[in-house]
């Protein structure tokens, strides 16, 4: 049991860090470099069930679930929760989402607002 570990980080530890960062970069690239396609829409789930799909147009919505109310603002450039009465306020602090894969989560209200991309890929759009 007393395989006393060296107290100092070594190159193998650096390898672990690299693997973790590479994983983060690979997963992150999918979200952050996803093209902002005009056909993307918002998918709103309330209490584990999908309840609405909203296109990116100027509009607003209010959802009440689990005793909390979340107010969503939508513009062609993005969507954000401008106010909510949940205790944690994480949904408000998330800010604006606009790219496929991004989402706003309100755990107390069990509400997820996610951006979903259009079905056709960028390549199809270029070919067409």
């Amino acid at each position: 049991m007393n395989k006393s570990p060296d107290g100092k980080p070594n190159k193998y530890d650096a390898l672990v860090v690299l693997v973790v960062l590479a994983l983060a970069a690979a997963l992150g690239a999918r979200v952050w470099f996803a093209p902002k396609s005009p056909a993307a829409e918002l998918v709103v789930s309330v209490g584990n069930t999908e309840c609405e799909r909203i296109p990116f147009d100027d509009t607003e919505r209010e959802y009440t679930n689990n005793g909390y109310t979340v107010h969503l603002a939508v513009t062609p450039d993005g969507a954000w929760v401008d106010h909510a009465d949940c205790p944690t306020q994480d949904c408000v602090r998330t800010g604006v989402i606009s790219r496929p894969g991004q989402s706003i989560v309100c755990l107390p209200a069990r509400i997820v607002i996610a951006v979903e991309g259009a079905e056709e890929s960028g390549w199809d759009a270029i070919a067409g």
Binding site: M1, K3, S4, P5, D6, G7, K8, P9, N10, Y12, D13, L15, V16, V17, V20, L21, L23, A24, A25, L27, G28, V31, W32, S45, N48, T49, T88, D90, C91, R93, T94, G95, G101, Q102, S103, I104, V105, C106, L107, P108, R110, V112, A114
Partner: protein, 161 residues
Amino acid sequence: MKTKQLTTGAILAALALALSYVEGMFPPPVPLPGVKLGLANIVTLFALYTLGAPSALAILLVRVLLGAMFAGNASALIFSLLGGFSAMLAMVALRRWEKLSVYGVSVGGAAAHNCGQVAAAMLTLGSAAPAAYLPPLLVAAVFSGALTGFVCSLLLRRKVF
């Protein structure tokens, strides 16, 4: 010998509980409620090195169950359960690789911890949306893992227990 292990275990479990409580007072690293940085992993890591995997597992169980009782909600239980056990599994596995120091084991554990928490969020919400928070959480894990590794290496060198 057995008694000493038991007392050490009890102290460590209490320490882990205190750490997860303190951690709950800070805002989560990403706007995903329920997610914690995993400071309590210091204890799992330290227990793993000093008492071995079975004791570390027992301490983890006590921390997770008591923590959920104090927090009084079941969704917090899923987060700490999945986070804590993923970290535990990863650290037990990485520890077998003898070239790694406590830092590498710690960073791997922190990354697994955050993956487990994202999985908990996905389960709780019934949505794949929380997966988008994994990249920033993995980057955060490098820092929190380095921190817990640093604290743990200090503790191991001074042979506190």
